[in-house]
Every structure is written in structure tokens, then in C-alpha cells.
Symmetry: C2
Subunit: 137 residues, 2 copies
């Protein structure tokens, strides 16, 4: 077979949405999971539900502000749910929704690709960056 386009990546899908960021499903999803912390948070929630401070512990580099914001984004899109236990002090648990679980396989596919091909990408970058700028001596 020569030059087949994988299903789901056809150009017409984007064109149907008219490139409008509000209407384009791909841009909406990429804007969410392409941000700095969502994919990582998703993966942390994939194993099991986690409390806020637990997430913060296992993702040390994230600030509370960004963790909150990331979780709100997931909650807003219906990918995760938030459960408050009125203990003292309060504890809040986040868990993936059924919808949220369905994104794990496709996301995992991309993650696997990244892990597998990153060495080659790094080499490509090194080569590219070492190239003399056009006209350079």
C-alpha cells in the first residue's frame, strides 16, 4: 500500500471545523493535554485516585497554583471528578471519570512513541543545530 493516511488524521477533519479553535476538536484536546502538566497529572491519576497533596508530592515540580488549575481543567472537561471529604483538615480526592479513562489508550500510544523515538529525535536536533547557518562560513 502506498501513501495511505491513517484513519482519524485526515485533513478534512480539521477543515470541517474550519480551523476555528473553539470548534475544532483536535485543537481543544491538544490545548488541554498539550499544556505543561495535564498529561503528567492524567498519568498520575491513571494508577489510582489521588489526594491533592499526594499529587503534589509525586509531582514535586508543579506549583500548587498550577496543580489546582490543571485539575480544574480536567474537571471542567469531564475527565476527572473531585470528591471532598469534610474531615478536619479537609481532604480532597481526584479520580478519573469513565470519559477520562478512555483517553488513556490514545495518550499512552503517544507517550510510548515519545519514549521510543526520543533518542532519534535528540540526534536529529543535534545534527540540525550543528549545521552551519545558511551562508555561515
Amino acid at each position: 500500500m502506498s501513501g495511505g493516511v491513517p484513519p482519524g488524521l485526515s485533513f478534512s477533519e480539521w477543515q470541517a471545523a474550519g480551523f476555528d479553535a473553539t470548534a475544532c476538536p483536535v485543537r481543544n484536546v491538544l490545548d488541554r493535554i498539550g499544556d505543561k502538566w495535564t498529561a503528567l497529572t492524567l498519568s498520575a491519576l491513571a494508577e489510582r485516585p489521588r489526594r491533592f497533596s499526594e499529587l503534589h508530592r509525586i509531582i514535586p515540580d508543579i506549583s500548587k497554583r498550577m496543580l489546582t488549575q490543571t485539575l480544574r481543567g480536567l474537571e471542567r472537561d469531564g475527565l476527572a471528578t473531585r470528591h471532598v471529604f469534610p474531615t478536619k483538615p479537609p481532604s480532597v480526592e481526584y479520580r478519573l471519570s469513565p470519559l477520562g479513562r478512555t483517553v488513556l489508550p490514545p495518550l499512552g500510544g503517544l507517550v510510548a512513541w515519545a519514549a521510543e523515538n526520543f533518542p532519534e529525535i535528540r540526534r536529529a536536533r543535534a545534527r540540525f543545530d550543528a549545521m552551519p547557518e545558511t551562508g555561515g562560513e
Copy 2:
């Protein structure tokens, strides 16, 4: 089966990279394809090689600046190659590299998920946004 984590999404993959954006494969890949135009450009190149102006025609919303920048990024990462034909005026063709082709299936998986679940996400957002802010009357 209860609560299995899909392969390739395990938390330890991130932890192994120490969350360092420079070293983390997932962040590197997501930073690239998560940007505003890369996924769309990739999809445009999936069908067949395209010339610069051709890409610009079929993705009208992108500026020349961003199209150039996006293509440079793909080239740098070894996902696409650039071929200059010294005609007059010059014409430049871009095409996916073998490595670039391998990203299409996983990316396509995510695109398909986006297309399929965007309606539900929109409903979730509408519900979330309609919720009274905590403490609102």
C-alpha cells in the same frame, strides 16, 4: 481486570526523566505537537509532500512566520525534510521523513479520540461553567 494502567503511560516513565523538560521524552514531544500548528501541519503533510505556498493555502489561518517556524521545528526534530528546487522563483517542498510517518498512527489515535469525544467534553464544559461559583447566591 481492575484498574490496569495502559502500557506506555506508567508514572515511572516520567519519574525516570526526573520531570526535567529537557530530558523528558513526553514533554519534548508534547511541546512540539501540542503547539498551535504542528499537528495540523503534520496532518497536511501526511497525505503527500507539499510546497510552502500550498501549505499556506490549505491552512489559511496560519501566518507565514508561524508556518516557517512550524516546519523548522519538524525539520529540526527529523520529522520532515526540506527540498529546495532552484527554479525561478524558487520552490520548496516539504515531506514527512520515515520517522515522521511513524508518529501518524499514535497521533491519529488521539485525533480520533478528540473527534469522537468532543461533544461530551463540550457538554461537560457547559455544565461546569453553569455551576454556581462556590458561595454564589
